[in-house]
């Protein structure tokens, strides 16, 4: 069967890295809406004039600094907590040190836009372009809250007896805008990763909830405390959020480091000559794409990524590499042994049990081998992706890919999961850059 596929065509050019010239509707709509609001408000405010320029300046600076200190959370989510809290604070501002402030919603949007732009410029200047969709969302949240709150701001006097009512209105607005924002973020994510919207909404709200609450409460706090402390307090007010931001940044860093470590160490099997160069990386990429398309949750995708990177680690315990490193060609008994050895290594860490389980069951047939029932979806995906990469290698030849797909399809009865194979066929149909 294998011989009909011919030898691996190493000399073929790799899949050309395609420029990102695709147009995602949801992402484009969000960006265009944000830019329109920003430019419109700026022009309108320039036309009608600024009120309280010193307050606007102080908050603008805070927003710019916050934007400059933006961080990237796991899952490639860009956030700027201090800028967002500053913007929310400016939106809810009623009174600075005893003097009521009466800026319009349009002025809020204009100040926030200018602040964000100024904070983003240095990053762009050194070649670190922001994620435009996240930047636009940061602006749009403020647009929403400002349009809902500012028109009624004059009726909410800070000295009235109904302070708790004002507080409730602010909290409700923050919650509502956070929900809308999660929805928008999920739409963009679903579009980018080709996953299901419902899954994306759950992932996004889980990823953004904690930080969203911290930003919201800090924003409200900044607005309320300004009535007493005036603008000098702004510096003090950002301190608690700074602590939160530092904690989140360190968390994001360690998550990235963890992934890099597993990625790098998954290559020891390649260096040791056990598998072909790039095999683990390709399998993990393919498995991730399949997992997204099949609607796996973010946490499951991470486990899948780890498992597929380390799926061949059991080969390290073999005395000598198996022929050409392709586990798909090894005997079932040998495959099983590699899976169990690898799983034992991963279980040793004490923290990656779900990953170890995926690795252990990666070679089982569709309906399972033992009494444990069918293997988990992650294992079935790894099995298919691994078989595909073992047989195709680095080649991009369409005929070869088709031939391998055909071969896998013939085995879908008992070996491979037909859904996974069909999903993989769909993934492979797209240009590589869109995985």
């Amino acid at each position: 069967m294998i011989t009909t596929l011919g030898s691996p065509l190493k000399e073929e050019p790799k899949r050309a890295a395609q420029p990102r010239n695709r147009i995602d509707p949801a992402r484009s709509v969000v960006i265009v809406a944000a830019v329109t609001c920003a430019v419109g408000s700026l022009l309108w405010t320039l036309f009608t004039g600024f009120v309280d320029p010193d307050v606007a300046l102080a908050f603008g600076v805070l927003i710019a600094v916050g934007e400059l200190a933006r961080i990237t959370l796991p899952g490639n989510r860009e956030v700027a907590p201090i800028a967002s809290a500053g913007a929310i604070g400016y939106t809810f501002l009623l009174d600075v040190g005893g003097d009521p402030v009466n800026h319009s919603a349009w002025q809020v949007i204009a100040v926030v836009s200018v602040g964000i732009a100024l904070g983003a410029l240095p990053h762009i200047a050194v070649g670190r372009a922001p994620r435009w969709s996240d930047l636009a969302r940061r602006g749009l949240v403020v647009v929403l809250i400002a349009l809902a709150f500012r028109p009624f701001a004059e009726r909410m006097s800070p000295d009235s007896q109904h302070w708790w009512l004002v507080l409730c209105v602010m909290a409700a607005l923050v919650m509502a805008s956070w929900l809308v924002d999660s929805g928008v973020a999920a739409a963009i994510r679903a579009e980018r990763l080709r996953t299901r919207l419902s899954v994306a909404i759950r992932d996004e709200s889980r990823a953004q909830f904690a930080l969203g609450m911290a930003i919201g409460s800090s924003g409200i706090l900044i607005a309320l405390a300004s009535t007493v402390t005036g603008l000098a307090g702004l510096l003090v007010f950002t301190a608690p959020l700074l602590v939160t931001q530092v904690a989140f940044r360190r968390y994001a860093e360690i998550r990235l480091t963890y992934l890099q470590t597993v990625r790098a160490l998954s290559r020891v099997t390649e260096v040791g000559g056990y598998v072909e160069t790039g095999h683990s990386r390709r399998v993990s990429r393919l498995a991730h794409a399949i997992g997204c398309e099949m609607g796996m949750r973010e946490s499951e995708l991470l486990a899948l990524e780890y498992a597929s990177l380390m799926h061949d680690i059991g080969q390290l315990s073999l005395r000598s590499p198996i022929a050409s490193g392709a586990t798909v060609l090894a005997s079932p008994r040998e495959q099983r042994r590699i899976a169990e050895l690898g799983s034992a290594v991963i279980r040793e860490t004490g923290v990656l049990d779900s990953v170890a389980e995926l690795v252990r069951r990666q070679c089982e047939s569709l309906h399972g081998d033992g009494d444990d029932g069918p293997p988990p979806l992650g294992s079935r995906i790894i099995k298919v992706a691994n078989a595909f990469d073992d047989l195709v290698g680095e080649s991009t030849d369409r005929d070869r890919v088709e031939a391998v797909l055909q071969r896998l399809r013939m085995d879908t009865g008992h070996e491979y999961d037909p859904d996974v194979v069909e999903t993989m066929a769909r993934v492979l149909d797209r240009p590589a850059a869109r995985w």
Binding site: G97, A214, I220, L221, V243, E253, L265, V271, G273
Partner: protein
């Protein structure tokens, strides 16, 4: 804490009785009892959820913000009462610890309140006109709180013999500075709570604590993830070396020895951390060397020797994508360079060899010699030290050798104990490329 030394008991008793004197004899004029109770409750809650930083030794907690809010709202005596309330903390804690913590918080709060009032701060909910100048006495109050708190705790630690008085350059200032900065940040928050106390009352508590609860939760996750990362890294490194029975645990011990040297040299905690990783990963490239070459008895051919010489480069290639390693990468790549330039892969001489590489090289050889190999038994630490001294200057950097020796003499060393394999399942090497006392032998040459 079970068997407290007498000095420590006296110290705790002194601190506690001073605090009780302050609380009992203080004047409670002009203190609103409702505010006092609310702040005390806030303080107990904040203290109960205090975050432990990764070492588990020093806790960062938002409680100092509550304590400093008390300074502004209810004055020095009120702050002392609030501080003392931390005895009621909702956590399992021995009675002595409770009393001491309560007492030292009470004294710190009293001192801070006193400083605040001396510098012209008004007790009570701050008025609009008080800002921004109230920040000055308040900052001084924070500093006083930090200093008294730190001094009292350090005093107890000293009586317990946990810390020794060290020369200033030996103390690692960075973690201390980070801790102090963060506690000053939490302290500033106290002013914040006091300021909006007049506007939204106890509602302020919820708003202020929410970001801090979230920060703490995230920090816990960070710590958990960091542990997971370390466990995974260690396991994968060990998986790489399980191939040879006798080198098991080698990477962990090299990592430990390298960290000892780095600490001895007074490096920053971050660099010590990095070199720990470097030591762990230093031989990862050995996997690229065919097993039969690594374990070959007898002399090596030129090609086989070349294959062994390649392993630092291979290791470098594997780990170079790990972002945080930066300096460690050079250490991994050059850990077989020699001071006299006869090492590999690049034949660097003297100080051209990166510092990390010079450290790992010594640690590597040290662990190799103190552990058992199939062709010889483990040497004693003193024998190994003699051998290291002999090679200092030619193979090793004398500075690193001295640092390792003094660190080992102080901390002791626990070499890996390997029972000889009882069956022929395990593979064993007949020589070790790390062993300076038994250099690799090349065909057609004497020794190398």
């Amino acid at each position: 804490m079970r068997s407290l030394p007498l000095a420590a008991r006296l110290y705790v008793g002194l601190v506690a009785s001073t605090a009780i004197t302050v609380v009992v004899l203080g004047s409670y004029d002009g203190i609103d009892p409702a505010t006092l109770v609310l702040v005390a409750i806030l303080f107990v809650i904040a203290e109960s959820i205090s975050t432990m930083v990764d070492s588990g030794k020093a806790g960062i907690s938002p409680s100092s913000s509550a304590s400093l809010a008390a300074v502004v709202l209810v004055g020095p005596v009120g702050a002392a009462v609030v501080g003392f309330a931390s005895c009621l903390i909702l956590r399992r804690q021995s009675i002595v610890k409770r009393v001491f913590n309560g007492a030292q918080f009470a004294l710190a709060g009293y001192a801070a309140g006193w400083v605040f009032r001396m510098l012209g701060g008004d007790i009570g909910v701050p008025e609009r006109g008080d800002f921004p100048w109230i920040v000055l006495p308040f900052t001084a109050a924070i500093l006083a709180h930090t200093v008294v708190n730190g001094a009292l705790v350090a005093g107890l630690m000293w009586f317990l013999g946990v810390v020794r008085i060290q020369r200033p350059h030996r103390i690692r200032w960075r973690p201390v500075a980070t801790l102090e900065l963060s506690s000053i940040g939490y302290g500033m928050l106290g002013l914040f709570i006091a300021a909006i106390w007049g506007v939204v009352g106890p509602f302020a508590v919820l708003l202020v604590l929410l970001p801090l609860f979230i920060a703490r939760w995230t920090f816990d996750q960070y710590v958990a993830e960091q542990r997971a990362h370390e466990a995974t890294l260690a396991t994968l490194c060990q998986a790489v070396e399980t191939k040879d029975y006798y080198t098991r645990g080698h990477c962990m011990r090299v990592s430990k020895a390298s960290a000892l040297v780095a600490e001895e040299l007074g490096m920053h905690a971050e660099r010590v951390h990095t070199i720990r990783y470097a030591g762990m990963l230093h031989d990862v490239g050995k996997l690229g060397v065919p097993t039969k070459v690594l374990q070959k008895p007898g002399k090596l051919t030129e090609e086989e020797f070349a294959a062994i010489q390649l392993h630092p480069m291979r290791g470098y290639e594997i780990v170079r994508e790990i972002g945080f390693l930066d300096e460690a990468l050079a250490g991994i790549m050059h850990h077989h360079e020699r001071m006299d330039g006869r090492g590999y892969p690049m034949g660097l001489v003297g100080s051209d060899i990166p510092e990390f590489a010079r450290i790992i090289s010594v640690a590597d050889a040290f662990d190799c010699m103190t552990s058992t190999r199939s062709y010889r038994n483990a040497r004693s630490v003193s024998e190994t030290i003699t051998e290291l001294r002999r090679c200092a200057g030619t193979q090793f950097d004398p500075v690193m050798v001295d640092a390792l020796i003094s660190a080992i003499e102080r901390e002791g060393w626990d070499p890996g104990v390997v029972e000889p394999p009882d069956d022929d399942v395990a593979e064993v090497a007949q020589q070790d490329h790390d062993d300076p006392s038994v250099p690799l032998r090349l065909e057609g040459e004497g020794e190398r």
